[in-house]
């Protein structure tokens, strides 16, 4: 093993992935792509193992290994030719959920297949029962938009017109989708070119050997991390509060068996799959498990498939963590994923407290809407995410206003949002007292109030934590619940969608119509607290009150802090 060559190839490949991502960010159309950065770019070897990835969206990183292997089952590598680009989004073929489109391009050198350039991106509009894909009331996969099995969208460098026509005929915003698809293709084109240049420079054998070495290296480091966790069985349970269809909870049950330098994560005992769209595919559960474990281990380990070798996952079919066809699952990737990752962290927190945290809000709010834009004479659709509070930690308070753990998305600027969409944002705040009390308190959630100003807007949502609070750890208190509230034009009353629209769930619903003059509040959940509130530094409490993070009343209730006496 040549450590210098390995270092060089690793940094070159990560830089290629980053360059692919920059191309995506700069050329794509959906705001979820270019403002929020909900995509990931990677390189894989011929076996479909991920050899390098750039840090964009974590949910997609862990999903990568299963994705490529599943696709290769349908389009064998022998049927791939130079210049082909394959598109795929099918959750029942290794995918994550219908909006997540994977593009991959085989990389040939001297006629030999050397690997793949891969980009996964969230395309906001995919057809189906609601604009923006997140149908909170879906009961089968067909409600969640067009499924695309692995298909060649480009064949030997030429567009396959038939595929393009089908893809664009089934969505509400074909102009936007066209831009996003082109952006994804240009990013894998670039990845292919760059990887070929790199292989040309170092030679095929050095490339093959070094990428194997690199995965072995990551595996070794991951094993060393696991070995440092005391052997034992670590358990944890969290729930998804409902599925949008029935008012009952769905348990995510984790048992993590640590033995030597390996770990088995067993989800046996988790609830049977839901009728509504909160189910996770096996790909999502793998991804979420890896995500949790990568948070608990050294963040500097190069990310590739080698990291995942010492990890075994047991996810019984027909449960919320491994949905059977044709169950709906669009929320599995956004809501159930952070619940699974959080449960893995919660299970192992007693063993590695310096790397753990209490629950983050663990929802992306997933507020989607669509309507008709008269000025540009076209349909619009938007996937908006909101920021939650993160959990308190051994060393610090939780961070305020961050995207949930399976994304690393950016919030959309108010000025971009109002320029593009017919809403006015009336306020956007950190919510006082939303972080759970603790030695280190949970981070604050955000709250946004929107006014519909011009035209009817169709709104759907897929969120959670309206009823179940984010958990605290080691005596820390729970973070605050989220909520979605509506006030009709002329009314003074804020109502849930259950009250205002007769929906079954306040957090998961499809196709309500918001009219000009109506207002809507999106309240995100806060982070859980870490450790006994009684241990909290008094100066930190005083500063929290002065800065408005905690009210004087809550400081008294949670910490017994009397502002007027202790000031």
């Amino acid at each position: 093993m040549d450590i210098v060559t390995m270092n060089l190839l690793d940094s070159t490949m990560v830089s290629i992935c980053r360059e692919m991502g920059i191309t995506l960010m700069k050329t794509s159309y959906s705001t979820i792509f270019n403002e929020a950065l909900d995509f990931t770019c990677a390189l894989a070897d011929t076996a479909g193992d991920m050899i390098a990835v750039a840090e964009f969206c974590p949910a997609q990183i862990g999903g990568m290994p299963l994705l490529i292997k599943s696709c290769a089952q349908e389009i064998p590598t022998s049927a791939m030719e130079e210049g082909d680009v394959i598109v795929h989004n099918d959750p029942y073929r290794g995918g994550l959920h219908t909006p997540e489109h994977t593009f991959f391009k085989p990389v040939f050198y001297d006629g030999d297949l050397m690997g793949f350039a891969v980009s996964i991106g969230h395309i906001a509009e995919v057809g189906g029962m609601v604009p923006g894909a997140f149908a909170g009331e879906a009961t089968e996969i067909f409600h969640e938009g067009l499924r695309v099995p692995p298909l060649k969208i480009i064949k030997r460098g030429q567009d396959v017109e038939e595929v393009w026509k089908v893809l664009l005929a089934n969505v509400r915003t074909p102009r936007y989708n066209y831009g996003d698809l082109r952006a994804l293709i240009s990013s894998v084109d670039l990845g292919e070119q760059r990887l070929r240049m790199m292989i040309g420079k170092y030679g095929k054998e050095v490339f093959r050997q070094t990428t194997r070495d690199l995965m072995d290296y990551s595996e070794r480091r991951m094993r060393a991390e696991i070995a440092s966790i005391p052997d034992g069985i670590y358990r944890f349970q969290d729930v998804v509060e409902n599925d949008g269809i029935e008012e009952r909870e769905y348990a995510i049950r984790v048992a993590a068996y640590v033995q030597g330098d390996e770990i088995v994560v067993d989800y046996t005992g988790s609830s049977p799959q839901a009728r509504g769209p909160i189910n996770a595919t096996l790909g999502v559960t793998w991804s979420a498990t890896y995500n949790g474990l990568l948070h608990l281990t050294d963040p500097t380990i190069p990310k590739n498939s080698g990291c995942f070798r010492p990890v075994k996952i047991v996810a019984p079919p027909g449960t919320v963590v491994n949905v059977d066809y044709p169950g709906p699952e669009v929320g599995g990737n956004t809501e159930t994923h952070p619940r699974i990752a959080g449960a893995v962290i919660g299970a192992l927190a007693p063993a590695v407290p310096h790397r753990a945290m209490a629950a983050e809000g663990s929802t992306h709010i997933n507020f989607v809407f669509g309507g008709y834009d008269e000025q540009n004479d076209e349909y619009f659709a938007c996937y908006d995410i909101e920021m939650v509070g993160w959990g308190g930690r051994l060393a610090a308070d939780g961070n305020d206003g961050q995207d949930s753990i399976n994304g690393n998305c950016r919030a959309m600027p108010v000025e971009v949002f109002e320029t593009r969409y017919p809403w006015r944002i009336e306020e956007w705040r950190l919510l006082t007292d939303s972080g759970g009390a603790g030695t280190h308190r949970g981070g604050l959630a955000t709250g946004k109030r929107l006014l519909c100003c011009k035209t009817d807007i169709t709104v759907s949502q897929m969120t959670d934590r309206h009823r179940i609070k984010p958990w605290g750890f080691g005596g820390g208190k729970e973070g605050a619940n989220g909520a979605t509230l509506i006030r009709r034009a002329g009314s003074t009353k804020w109502q849930t969608v259950v009250e205002a629209f007769n929906k079954r769930s306040s957090s998961k619903y499809a196709n309500i119509t918001i009219r000009p003059g109506d207002r809507l509040q999106l309240i995100a959940p806060g982070g859980g607290g870490w450790g006994d509130p009684a241990e909290r530094d008094r100066a930190a409490i005083r500063e929290d009150i002065r800065e408005g993070y905690v009210s004087a009343e809550r400081a008294f209730k949670d910490y017994g802090f009397q502002a007027n006496k202790e000031d």
């Binding site: 210098v4 830089s15 293709i185 290296y217 305020d400 009336e426 956007w428």
Partner: protein, 675 residues
């Protein structure tokens, strides 16, 4: 008035460069900086210069603005914003610096939340007033803030003010009346571009450093006034241009990246002199390396700068990427057994092991010494002896842990340090769609020339230039700068319904504002105007910048403009979307007042071949070789040296790899070409 001076005030040293316009001589020298009183350091350094009365002008590069932010030593700022949006600067963009680091702490803004005040006012996305600001309320607020003794500066950012600054201007006027002693920064003046967090972060940073910068520049001006008696002192901006001390004090955010721009400006000048179209500069010092590009005679500019992760300062500035890799970067072994170099640095104290000041970690400088690249007896011209034994034992410890011979370990350290710098070069070239094979590398800073041959080999760059005075190159660049103002503004217009009159009006206003800024500073001569538009397909979110040559939008030039955009998109991203609606997002104007430039003296052509002063054993990737060592001051124009070879000068050493050839041009630049 013979002399032009460039002064670069760094953390450890202040570099001085003096150009004599009569003899064309250039003198360079260094002094220790006086961090708590930078003016004192400058005055002491100037005392070494015997022609003080003959100084025509002095241009200063300074880190006072940068340090005030990085060390969080700025003012207590009151932040005024649209009602409902006080928390924009606390929520920021909601993403994290690292994916998997659970212990990462989100950066805090430069204001306290309790000092953020909301104002009842609102514009819509077209700039129409939805809720008018109430003058009485604003007066009350201004008085309350003035009465709060804690507050030292005010920043104002209202939503959509980049389209219509009416409410920000009103606040500015009311504060001038009610609280005239408080400096006020409004976002329309600082950065009239969309995206409220980035605009607010920039505006707050401006207010945050204003009192301290104004005070420090004031003291500096007084000191210089007394010692040099010159009024011609200016400061280098982040865009590489100069501005007066007064302008700097009232808009200090323009000095966020002052010093490092000098090297890029000098690079541009030399590129022009030598007819180099595409240049990439690498400035490698003790703890960090700065990388930038000059293409077609233009520096690369950015509006995406972050002074720390998550704290954007988005005024237009030279795009300089900085990485934590330098001569002092420490080599270490990670938990998986991988050898790594940096970003931790041994700094100036204790410094690399070979400094003999107690450092025990092996650094890049130690590796260079052990590989025969540095001469222990001629470091800084012999003024500092290097401790080879200390370097050897530091490297031996590392080698033991790797189970490799010490020399192989030193070579690995060097190669990994090179890999880090290659990463920085990739980020400014390949990641921006630029092909290294079209470029020349200019390498400077004390440590840059040591690595130059390796870097062009590894990057596939065909040639490199090691300029004169590589150790004081930034200060050298300051004698070559112009006065420059960049002004950007957001106004969205699409090709579908393009309002030519509005576009023309905005562009003309922008140019007039920029010209007025220059004139107010006294720069009225040799003014050049550059205009450009940032454009994209309607729906995209990032723009391509297209230069334009007109002030008035006509049907003809507008049609041509849309076509140019398709072409530019294809060239940059490999595809275009024919027939798609195109959107103009930002207008920009740059005005430059060209100032007199030094003329460089040409060297006498060489007679015969250069004489090495010795031969030494030096390690290269393919083995150890006996190589000739030259002194740079003995080289003349047209001298040519075949690698492997070493060229030493007081503040730097150039290593020439086997197979590379070095040629001295008529100005004394060393041009290196790969075989």
């Amino acid at each position: 008035m013979r002399y032009m001076l460039g002064v670069d005030v760094g953390g450890t040293f202040t570099d001085f460069v003096a150009y004599d316009s009569q003899t064309k001589d250039i003198n360079v020298w260094k002094r220790m900086s006086v961090p708590r009183d930078p003016g004192e350091g400058i005055v002491r350094g100037l005392a070494q210069f015997e022609h003080q009365p003959d100084i025509r002008n002095i241009r200063l590069g300074t880190t006072i603005a940068t340090n005030a932010i990085l060390e969080r030593k700025g003012a207590c700022v009151a932040f005024l914003t649209t009602s409902g949006f006080r928390d924009v600067v606390f929520i920021q963009r909601g993403n994290r610096k690292y994916h998997y680091d659970i212990n990462w702490v989100k950066p805090k803004p430069l204001v306290k939340r309790r000092h953020c005040r909301e104002v009842a006012e609102r514009l819509d996305s077209q700039g129409n007033i939805m809720a008018a600001a109430n003058e009485g309320e604003l007066r009350g607020l201004a008085r309350a803030i003035a009465a709060d003794k804690e507050i030292e500066a005010v920043a104002v950012v209202f939503l959509f003010s980049y389209i219509n600054p009416v409410h920000e201007r009103l606040v500015q006027r009311i504060f001038a009346e009610e609280a005239p002693e408080l400096p006020v920064s409004i976002s329309y003046d600082v950065l009239p571009k969309w995206k409220e967090y980035e605009r607010a972060s920039t505006t707050i940073a401006d207010a945050y450093i204003k009192p301290i910068v104004a005070a420090q520049l004031g003291t500096m001006a007084e000191k210089l006034e007394r010692s040099v008696g010159t009024r011609k002192v200016s400061v280098i901006k982040s865009n590489g241009g100069e501005m007066t001390l007064q302008a700097a004090a009232s808009a200090p955010i323009h000095m966020a990246v002052s010093g490092p721009t000098g090297g890029v400006v000098a690079g541009r000048h030399i590129a022009k002199l030598l007819g180099i179209d595409s240049l990439v500069t690498i400035d490698m010092g003790g703890t960090s390396t700065d990388v930038s590009t000059i293409v077609g005679g233009q520096e690369s500019f950015t509006t995406g700068f972050e002074i720390e992760w998550g704290l954007p300062i988005q005024i237009p500035m030279i795009d300089i990427r900085t990485i934590g890799a330098g001569g002092g970067s420490i080599a270490w072994i990670d938990k998986g057994g991988m050898l790594r170099v940096g970003p931790q640095s041994a700094g100036a104290a204790p410094g690399p092991a070979c400094y003999g000041a107690g450092g025990t970690d092996a650094t890049v400088t130690d590796a260079n010494l052990l590989l025969g690249r540095l001469n222990p007896a001629y470091f800084l011209g012999g003024s500092m002896a290097l401790d080879v034994t200390a370097a050897e034992s530091a490297m031996a410890r590392l080698a033991d842990r790797l189970g490799k011979p010490a020399e192989e370990t030193a070579m690995s350290v060097l190669r990994i340090a090179n890999t880090n710098m290659i990463g920085a070069l990739r980020s400014v070239l390949i990641e921006r769609g630029l092909d290294p094979r079209d470029f020349t590398l200019m390498s400077f800073g004390g440590a840059g020339p040591l690595h130059v041959s390796d870097l062009i080999e590894e990057m596939g760059i065909p040639r490199a230039v090691v300029p004169n005075h590589p150790g004081q190159f930034s200060a050298y660049g300051f004698i070559l700068t112009d006065a420059r103002v960049d002004r950007h503004r957001t106004l969205q217009l699409t090709s579908k319904r393009f309002d030519r009159e509005r576009a023309t009006e905005v562009l003309k206003t922008l140019i007039e504002e920029a010209l007025e800024d220059l004139r107010a500073q006294g720069y009225a001569e040799n003014v050049q105007i550059f205009r450009s538009l940032e454009m994209r397909y309607l729906g995209q979110n990032y723009e391509l910048e297209l230069p334009i040559a007109f002030d008035t939008f006509s049907p003809e030039n507008t049609t041509a403009l849309w076509e140019q955009f398709h072409v530019a998109h294809r060239a940059r991203f490999g595809f275009d979307i024919p027939g798609e609606v195109i959107e103009i997002v930002n207008f920009s104007a740059t005005v430059v007042s060209i100032t007199p430039k030094p003329v460089f003296r040409e060297l006498e052509p060489a007679a015969g071949d250069p004489e090495p002063i010795e031969t030494r054993l030096v390690h290269f990737i393919d083995g150890r070789k006996s190589v000739p060592v030259y002194r740079r001051d003995a080289l003349s124009a047209n001298h040519s040296i075949a690698g492997p070879a070493i060229v030493e000068e007081i503040a730097s050493v150039t290593v020439l790899n086997p197979g590379h050839r070095l040629f001295v041009d008529r100005f004394g630049n060393m041009v290196i070409e790969r075989a």
